[in-house]
């Protein structure tokens, strides 16, 4: 397997050559990927907000943001600035401590989960062994924040929104985890890098989407429900609950919820690309192209091109899924709470269990195709 470029290794090596001890070099390296990821996630949110507004406008034959920067590209920035400078109102009878803590608990897991999103063989903050499981565990913390903010607002709409959000995310976590489990079964590892590596070698034909068509659909439905995107946006159903748990929030705290929901969507799309669409893989394996053109795998410029292509492909796949999510938003009406729970418990859960069972059976029967 071609290791690709190893920025961390080369950075630490170059620092060591200045005479620094390896521990210090590593400590100096550590903030870089985190900062890049933090900035990248925020930029991703900006892009996503802009895309959402533009695509929504296109789906409704409108123009969308137009005058704030070229093609309105600075509109999300203007939104953000507005929210930063807005007055931070805490309702008179709200519980100030929980009210402030709630949005933070919602946002932090979303950003933390970026730890395990790989953009290349070594382009990941930490390749922890439990990889994808970390994401599932972290995303299960979010409902606590939602309940907290719903309760602390001292408003019945907020409380109902928080309760709905919690019910929704605990019931859709199961199908999500089970469909991820089917993938893990095939790749014999929880690590996201291993999951992508298991899909490499055959280009587009090797991607998990062909081996897990059912899991693919379940995962996407469950991910949409986890992100509270439109067919499942009950917690903030504006006709019934004003804005759900966000009703009483304004200013930066509201912005945290806003960023959190979009970061979550981006994250789900990225992980979806990693799990089912081959992560950073190009449609045709890079190695094959290189072999065809008679270039060695270890050529430096090829490695740079491969890395850039990897980041590009991951983002391309993720944004394709986001595009579908936005299109879905203008296509499907919101489901009722009982329909939502019915779909989750009576349809997705049994189907994902059967999917897991079939995957296990196929793995035993055809170990070549389903990861022996």
């Amino acid at each position: 397997m071609n290791p690709g470029i190893d920025l961390q290794g080369s950075f630490i090596e170059s620092l060591k050559s200045f005479g620094l001890p390896p521990g210090v070099a590593k400590v100096l390296w550590m903030p870089f990927p985190m900062l890049i990821m933090l900035v990248g996630a925020t930029l991703g949110v900006f892009t996503l907000v802009w895309l959402e507004r533009k695509i929504s406008a296109a789906a409704q034959q409108r123009i969308g943001p137009e005058f704030i920067g070229p093609l309105g590209i600075l509109a999300p920035l203007a939104d953000g600035l507005k929210l930063v400078f807005k007055e931070d109102v805490v309702p008179a009878k709200a519980d100030g401590l929980l009210f402030t803590l709630g949005p933070a608990i919602v946002v932090i897991p979303a950003f933390l989960s970026y730890l395990i999103v790989p953009f290349g063989q070594n382009m990941i903050i930490t390749d922890v062994g439990m990889g994808i499981f970390l994401w599932i565990a972290l995303s299960s913390v979010v409902p606590i924040g939602l309940l907290m903010s719903g309760y602390a607002s001292n408003n019945k709409y907020s409380l109902l929104g928080g309760l709905r959000a919690a019910a929704q995310s605990i019931s859709y976590e199961l199908p999500l985890a089970l469909s991820v489990l089917a993938i893990v079964l095939m790749s014999n590892s929880l690590s996201t890098v291993d999951i992508v590596n298991q899909q490499t070698g055959y280009g587009i034909l090797g991607w998990n989407i062909w081996r897990q068509p059912v899991g693919f659909l379940i995962f996407w439905i469950a991910a949409l429900a986890e992100c509270e995107r439109i067919p499942f946006d009950l917690p903030e159903a504006e006709e019934e609950l004003v804005a759900g748990y966000q009703t009483e929030y304004s200013g930066m705290k509201f912005a945290l919820f806003y960023i959190g929901s979009y970061v979550n969507l981006t994250l789900s799309a990225l992980l979806f690309a990693v799990l089912y669409l081959g992560g950073w893989e190009f449609f045709v394996p890079i190695g094959t192209i290189a072999g065809f053109l008679n270039i060695s795998d270890t050529t430096p410029w090829l490695q740079v091109v491969a890395a850039v292509l990897g980041i590009g492909m991951t983002l391309l796949k993720a944004y394709f899924l986001i595009f579908i999510a936005i299109l879905m938003r203008w296509t499907v009406p919101r489901v009722r709470i009982d329909q939502l729970l019915d779909l989750g418990w009576k349809f997705l859960l049994p189907v994902s269990l059967v999917n897991l069972l079939i995957t296990a059976g196929l793995k035993l029967a055809f170990p070549v195709a389903f990861g022996g």
Binding site: A57, Q61, R62, L327, M328, V332
Partner: protein, 193 residues
């Protein structure tokens, strides 16, 4: 066992059908994305109001005979007609006339019933002010003519949907001289002769 299998089969069929319908819906939404926006970018582009547009009312002071028909036909007796009887000419003499467009519903009854046609509808609809009392137009303000959209150099005038040629839905970039669908009034008059 058979019954159970049939249930499972029906359930699957329904699930597939639901998926199909969602797919169809997505196709419709996707199709809308390639259509051109219908947006009229308001301060820069404006629609040309139609001939029968009921905008701000225009008033000609000299034609008015202070008969107060407009007040009687108005649903809320809105026009204020301030006149006094001129004993020499034995006629009513109009001092002031005003209509409050903050209250007017633009039904056009006054225009319809005015015996001397001193009231008429204009195409002006931009009646926003910072103070609602500014909308109480006196006879001088009522006598002003609105600025035509087609004369405004800052504005791209756009035709409304019914004034577009047949099959055209987009008012942007029409070829010059393109006629609207159907016969124009003067053509109908011509054909009736």
């Amino acid at each position: 066992m058979l019954k159970f299998l049939k249930q499972v089969g029906d359930y699957t069929k329904e699930a597939v059908q639901a998926g199909k319908y969602i797919g169809q819906g997505l196709a419709v939404t996707f199709d809308h994305m390639r259509r051109r926006p219908v947006t009229v970018q308001y301060p820069y582009e404006k629609l040309i109001p139609s001939e029968r547009f009921r905008g701000r009312i225009h008033f000609e002071f000299d034609k008015c005979i202070a008969c107060e028909v407009c007040v009687r036909v108005c649903p809320i007796n809105l026009p204020v007609v301030d006149w006094e009887f001129n004993k020499e000419s034995k006629k009513k003499q109009l001092n002031h006339y005003s209509i409050d467009f903050g209250v007017c519903i633009f039904c056009g009854n006054c225009v319809e019933f005015c015996p001397t046609n001193c009231l008429s509808m204009t195409e002006e609809y931009e009646l926003s002010t910072y103070d609602r009392h500014e909308l109480n137009f006196d006879s001088v303000a009522l006598g002003r003519l609105p600025y035509k959209v087609t004369d405004d150099a800052m504005v791209t005038p756009l035709r409304e949907l019914v004034y577009l040629p047949k099959g055209v839905l987009d008012p942007h970039d029409l070829p010059p001289g393109s006629k609207r669908a159907g016969a124009r009034p003067e053509e109908i008059v011509e054909s009736e002769k």
